[in-house]
């Protein structure tokens, strides 16, 4: 059974600081996704990582994928309050017939002034 673990589960950081969220998964994957969720809202797609060594950046967020280590990271540079949200990674698997996303536990990020 595929397991997806994120750490930390909760992160409080000051504005201007850098930090990394880690996403480990237990079996081979086709794709790795990062989503943002604001309280009471749905999931907003941030990144889709397609292959080993993939790196994508958008603003203060950068995601990377190491399929050999079964690890993805989401790096936050010079955090601002607007980045406060819960961040989920999700592993995509295609079985030949069906597709499925398995989500991590989520990391709740709180950026303080």
């Amino acid at each position: 059974e595929l397991k997806v673990e994120q750490n930390p589960l909760f992160l409080s950081m000051q504005e201007g600081k850098n930090y990394t969220i880690y996403c480990n998964y237990s079996t081979t994957s086709d794709r790795l996704y990062w989503y943002r969720q604001d309280p009471g809202k749905s999931l907003e797609s941030l990144f889709v990582l397609l292959s080993n060594g993939a790196v994508k950046q958008e603003g203060r967020l950068m995601a990377s994928l190491d399929t050999k280590a079964r690890l993805s990271t989401l790096h936050i540079t010079a955090a601002v309050h607007d980045l406060s949200a819960t961040y989920f990674c999700a592993v995509g698997r295609y079985t030949g017939t069906a597709s499925k996303l398995t989500f991590g536990t989520g990391t709740r990020l709180q950026v303080t002034l």
Partner: protein
């Protein structure tokens, strides 16, 4: 519409009542997913459709849960004889193709179900 649309947004059901949740995916999207998200948790997979075919229903928690997508567009998730543990947000998502193609998967706002 421009995004994945779900209705109702909020539903309060008495225990034992049947509910139906509707999902209108982005036009032309082949893949459609249903997820269940309990408070403070990550979304849990329920079922997957490719066009009208339900190819994976391994996440449906019991035979009280039933999903359909008869014409390959709109989907309905039905929960019979609701129980308190069914209280959650039910998220629908769609994607232009299969996951293997690497397309973004778009989520709707969710249907918030509370069973009292």
């Amino acid at each position: 519409g421009a995004g994945v649309s779900q209705s109702p947004r909020y539903k309060v059901a008495k225990r034992g009542q049947d509910v139906a949740l509707r999902c209108d995916p982005i036009s032309g999207h082949v893949s459609l997913f249903w997820y269940q998200q309990a408070l403070g948790q990550g979304p849990e997979f329920l079922t997957y459709f490719q066009n009208e075919a339900q190819l994976d229903k391994s996440g449906l928690p019991s035979d009280r849960f039933f999903a359909e997508r008869p014409e390959g567009s709109v989907s309905t998730l039905k929960i019979q004889r609701t129980q308190q543990e069914d209280s959650a947000v039910y998220l629908c998502a769609s994607s232009p193709r299969r996951i293997a193609s690497g397309n973004t998967i778009y989520f709707g706002e969710g249907s918030w179900l509370t069973v009292v």
